[in-house]
């Protein structure tokens, strides 16, 4: 059975997307605080932060920053809408990475030391996670025989049953996107303050925060696509949500038991673990298919 999400559902989901990302962040801060024996902020804290920032006056260095911030949010919004409407996964991926390019350029556009290093680090991160992300999307396409999100709903078994290892690799991407240690190098508070965001203030900083919400929704959304249960919409929603939460909980635990690593360690880890796992998994799928085909 081909599960087609209704248009209304898609529209609602794309409107809700940033808020889902926001709630994820809110819970994240709360759970992290609980893990650290603290009470922690309210769940809606990220929302208050952003609203407050919109109420502040802006102090910017130049206008180019504003353009890049807007483009960043714009591309991520576009990519979210595409995801919610079951668009092309590759286009979604490329739009996310374009968004990150704009974000990096926003950092580079100001001649400021920490912003510059933040931009550099954003590029190191890109070098680390883009191959993994791209290969994951690719392996989904390889199994689904299509890059369209809606085709995933037409599979016979959940993707996680065939290609579980890319999901592990995607944890690296997720940690980077969530700005969590050990890979929070670009926004490292105690090294480069807040890296690429440092020269933004007020409403434009809020835009970046909102873009971050979108980003989290997108990455966790793509990861939970692995848990689509074919032919059963209710179970699909349940398993996707559960999987999303599980992934997210693991990321919080990792955040709490690790220190931030160097960018070169990150690159090595992502190449050694991230890419290898995907390659191994796809190889296994091929070998199994070959044996099954041969027999």
């Amino acid at each position: 059975m081909n599960f087609q999400p209704s248009i209304l559902f898609s529209i609602l989901l794309s409107i809700a997307a940033p808020f889902i990302g926001m709630l994820i962040l809110g819970f994240d801060r709360k759970i992290t605080a609980r893990m650290q024996n603290r009470v922690g902020p309210p769940i809606l804290q990220p929302f208050y932060d952003v609203v407050k920032l919109f109420g502040k006056s802006e102090l910017m260095v130049k206008k180019a920053q504003i353009l890049f911030a807007l483009m960043f949010v714009g591309t991520l919004l576009l990519s979210t809408v595409l995801l919610c409407f079951g668009g092309d996964l590759l286009v979604i991926f490329f739009l996310i990475s374009t968004g990150m390019i704009f974000y990096t350029l926003g950092a580079y556009s100001v001649k400021s030391g920490f912003s510059f290093i933040g931009g550099n680090r954003e590029l190191y991160q890109m070098l680390a996670y883009e191959p993994i992300f791209m290969l994951t999307v690719f392996s989904v396409g390889l199994i689904t025989k299509s890059f369209r999100v809606d085709q995933i709903f037409g599979l016979e078994v959940p993707l996680v049953a065939i290609i579980p290892l890319p999901l592990v690799s995607m944890m690296i991407v997720f940690l980077i996107k969530m700005q969590k240690s050990p890979f929070d190098i670009s926004t490292a508070h105690t090294e480069i303050i807040s890296g690429p965001m440092i020269e933004y203030s007020g409403g434009y900083l809020a835009l970046l925060k909102i873009a971050h919400w979108y980003e989290i929704f997108l990455v966790i959304g793509i990861m939970s696509l692995f848990f689509v249960v074919p032919g059963n919409p209710v179970l699909t929603v349940v398993s996707m949500a559960a999987a999303g939460l599980a992934i997210y909980f693991v990321s919080i635990i990792i955040d709490n038991v690790t220190a931030r690593v160097h960018w070169n360690t990150m690159l090595r880890l992502s190449a050694a673990i991230g890419i290898t796992l995907i390659v191994v998994n796809v190889a296994i799928v091929y070998i199994v298919a070959y044996i099954a085909g041969g027999a």
Partner: protein
Amino acid sequence: MVKSTITFGPQHPVFPEPIQFILKVVDEKVVLAEPQIGYVHRGIEKAFELNDPKDNIFLAERICGICPAPHTTAYVRGVESLMGIEAPPRAKYIRTIMNELNRIHSHILWAGLLGDAIGFESYFMQTWNYREKVLDAIEKISGHRVTYAMNAIGGVRRDMTNEQLRGLEKTMDYVESSLENIEDVMKDYTIKKRTQGIGILTEEEARRDGAVGPTARASGISQDLRTSGYDAYGDLKFEPVVVNNCDSYGRFAVRWQELKQSIDLIRQCIVKMPSGEILTKSNNPMNGEAISRVEAPRGELFYYIKGNGSKKLERVKVRTPTFANIIPTVTMLSKGCQVADVSVIVLSMDPCISCTER
């Protein structure tokens, strides 16, 4: 080679105090680190000459808000030797307890800051949570968490009741078990990755540059002023903690073991605590010169005090451990490191700029 100039400080979240390094970096590699000073200079040494020597205790305490006990100890010991008096044994033991409590709180604080610097937030939170208990113990003894002015010229200001001693013992048990809880952090992969081989200072360099305190002891130099036996240390049994790692991890390890050592020393003090007076009163004139050295959490603290027989001191000179450790730190930085390591290396010597600049 294309270099960038990055200013690390004066206002930077990783350092609570305005330390400034002007870094020349290529990509992320630091090729030149230039320390800049003057952001915290107040002119305390001059103020020592203006105030009454008794009030100076409060001033000495505020040279550094993290280690007030060693500063006041060094100051009062200097003044006592000018006056030719000595504190009673019980006072010496109380001083020792305060010094060791101070060391515990300072080392835990440092460990937390290191965790914060390398992005290990939960570690920062846990250590500082335990540190609060130590501060509570200090407050119960002295009446204040941070600047407790326990020392007085000729002894200590306040006595410790048996109840307080028992409470302190309990606190020590608590701190010890808490520290065991988080001891595994030392084995963590990411912590090792961030500290091992970072900020190398060989024994030779440490001797040449005159490193003191844990920085020297992590480079294999067995140098601990407490072995000279001032205050009650002569009665207590302990060995200086020395490791040979010569890197930030070694400095971490030294401080971690010193925490346990300090807990042990406090227990010894509680057991051996003599009874008697806590203050030797004297109105002897302060004449001549005196040198007073104390092992502060960061290393050797040195006071030179000169009196001319008048009501006020003629000169007080303070050489702080951080001052001695600046050149070793520049040596470490100049070996080439990453921007991310600057905070780790600088923190690994536990800088106290407000001490250094006074």
